[in-house]
């Protein structure tokens, strides 16, 4: 009866290495590349923006999955990084740094710095304490953003969109779409390489049994911190794209609602699965948008479907395919 804290991630170390997964990935890649051309042809720009939104959330959820899933660090404050990335790009652009070459690395640097500070302080704790201390830091940033009148306070501020090389502008929804897709693909590739490398295994070992990992001589804390900073930076990248997508940043980008939403996406999609974040984001946003088209009581149906998903499917939506091992 007593719930046991089962380890995540040990059962499927090379999920993308299978040929079947590669074929599926290739298919999805071609589909994703052709999508805006089709939507452009039938004149449905809304669907292009919607897809970009899905990619951005998938990126944020994937970055959270790196620490939550593989690292066992359940962060309830991931919006802190998304929001900081968004505010950083907006503030830098307002100050005249509109070129992505200058703007993005600086904004990401801010996120990495923030993640290292939060990480150093939070990683002293475990379990529910970790969940809550990460939330605490996110809430502090939220209220800071609310109180800073210079940057719009509660209302937020408009975003001057950053300029990409070759004169491409993120204001164009197709440019934004391909940029988000590219960033997401790179992030997935990086995550895949990382979690199957020595780094990923030490990360899993540290979450599975920190005492044993430490007694094997592994610097548990540093590996967890590096993962936390990486995830924070990737989350910040999602924030940059989200700011450019919405053309507006507001404190809601830092709110615990967003942190919770990202967490639900990861759990729904599959904890410690490479595609977990992507699948969760697609399912969640798709359901939310579709249901809110039909009824104002969409939350009821979203909640009901999530309940069904949790009761019927173990290990998230990615658990639906791929054999269980071990």
């Amino acid at each position: 009866m007593r719930p046991t804290n089962k380890p995540h991630g040990f059962d499927q170390p090379r999920s993308l290495g299978e040929p079947r997964a590669w074929v599926l990935g290739l298919f999805l890649g071609v589909l994703a590349l052709a999508y805006p051309l089709v939507m452009g042809a039938v004149d449905q720009p809304y669907f292009i923006t919607f897809a970009s939104r899905v990619f951005v959330f998938a990126l944020a959820a994937t970055s959270l999955n790196l620490i939550l899933g593989y690292g066992g660090m359940v962060s309830f404050g991931h919006a802190a990084f998304v929001g900081t990335g968004a505010y950083a790009t907006a503030i830098l652009a307002q100050a005249g740094w509109v070129s992505a070459w200058a703007n993005w690395p600086l904004a990401l640097g801010v996120c990495a710095l923030l993640a290292s500070v939060i990480g150093v302080l939070s990683l002293r704790t475990r379990g529910l304490y970790f969940i809550m201390i990460t939330l605490a830091f996110a809430q502090m940033l939220y209220y800071l953003a609310v109180s800073l009148r210079v940057y719009g306070g509660e209302d937020g501020m408009p975003v001057r969109r950053t300029l990409l090389p070759f004169g491409l502008e993120l204001r164009d929804e197709i440019v934004l779409y391909y940029t988000s897709l590219l960033v997401l693909a790179l992030a997935l590739l990086l995550t895949w390489r990382l979690v199957n490398a020595r780094f990923g295994w030490i990360l899993r070992a540290s979450s599975e049994n920190p005492t044993r990992a430490a007694s094997l001589g592994l610097p548990v804390f540093y590996y967890q911190l590096v993962a936390f900073v990486l995830a924070g930076t990737m989350g910040g990248m999602a924030g940059i794209l989200l700011a450019n997508l919405n053309g507006w940043v507001s404190p809601s980008f830092l709110s615990w609602h967003l942190s919770g939403q990202l967490m639900m996406m990861v759990i729904l999609g599959g904890v410690a699965r490479l595609w977990g974040g992507v699948l969760g984001a697609v399912a969640y946003l798709f359901l939310e948008t579709l249901l809110s088209e039909f009824t104002i009581h969409w939350q009821l149906f979203l909640g009901g479907l999530l309940l069904l998903a949790v009761l019927a499917v173990k290990k998230g939506l990615t658990g639906l395919w791929g054999k269980e091992r071990g």
Binding site: H8, L144, L306, L311
Partner: protein
């Protein structure tokens, strides 16, 4: 100034006792059943709405809150029977997702029944007049809340530390397998914990109704604060939750009352004002972060296993 301080301390105590009612249920469920129940805040909200509806039906405030709390407790039992008992063997995070979904469903059901506008719940007539002591006056209802909260807390402590049932609860929270081997009835204890937790949440929700008005967001606000309290106090510790709830109530109220003027002494101008307002809203979180940096397992860590 003196009166103002007393008033703020009383407000802090009132908030603290109320938060303890909610947090104690949450920490019991977490300690005994090992479930992170995100729907706990929804129980609190449902309790408040039911009380508001029942006051109109029964005409008695006391009867209404009792019935509302009992109905909420029944709701907790239903949630346990149809949802959570299927998830005890599953990952913690699955339970988080399930209770999050339950929260969505419950709040949407409330919205469908009572609409999005806040519902008024008026202070019972006997407690409506403020209490006057010379120049000092204070809300009688809030004083009654402090007394009632203290009474319920005492009852809860008696239940947990002086009865056989409480011994079972403590044993289950400390070491589940061993408790079961010694003959503690598992299923019944889970059900009871959920029923008790939901009862306390519903009670707290209906009591706070007259102060803040009954609205849809009330559950999530209090849920986050209660997690803060549990973490400050030490997960699974009732004593810790009690101390932390009072501390959080006092820190929040006194900070709101005095911090901005203290800030003005050091800095001045609009920047100081906006920084002060940020600091005030975030004071509780700052307090928690400080506690955790020095005591990573809270003020009263529970020794598990």
């Amino acid at each position: 100034m003196g009166f103002y301080l007393v008033e703020q301390i009383l407000n802090g105590l009132q908030l603290g006792f109320l938060l303890f009612l909610v947090a104690s249920g949450l920490t019991l469920v977490l300690g005994v059943a090992n479930v992170i129940n995100l729907a706990h805040g929804a129980f609190y909200m449902v309790g408040a709405y039911l009380a508001a509806a029942l006051v109109g039906l029964t005409g008695s405030f006391g009867l209404a809150i009792l019935l509302a709390a009992l109905a909420t407790s029944f709701l907790g039992l239903l949630a346990e029977a149809f949802l959570l008992r299927h998830l005890y063997n599953r990952d913690h995070l699955d339970q988080v997702l399930a209770t999050f979904a339950l929260m969505l469903v419950l709040s949407e059901l409330v919205r469908m029944t009572w609409g999005s506008q806040p519902v008024a719940l008026s202070v019972p007539a006997a407690l409506a007049q403020p209490l006057r002591l010379g120049e000092f006056s204070y809300s009688t209802y809030r004083l009654a809340l402090i007394a009632f909260g203290a009474g319920v807390s005492l009852g809860l402590f008696w239940l947990i530390f002086r009865t056989r049932l409480g011994m079972w609860l403590r044993a289950a929270a400390a070491n589940w397998e061993m408790a079961r081997c010694m003959g503690v009835p598992a299923g019944a204890l889970y059900k009871l914990t959920f029923a008790l937790g939901a009862f306390l949440a519903g009670l707290a929700g209906s009591l706070v109704g007259p102060i803040t008005a009954v609205h849809l967001g009330m559950g999530t606000d209090v849920l986050i604060l209660c997690f803060v309290i549990i973490v400050i106090g030490g997960v699974g510790s009732i004593k810790g939750a009690f101390v932390a709830a009072l501390l959080v109530g006092l820190v929040d109220n006194l900070g709101r009352a005095f911090l901005p003027s203290l800030f003005q002494l050091v800095l001045s101008g609009p920047v100081a004002a906006s920084l002060a307002s940020a600091l005030v809203s975030t004071l509780v979180y700052l307090f928690m972060a400080l506690v955790l940096v020095f005591r990573p397992e809270g003020l009263f860590p529970v020794r598990m296993r």
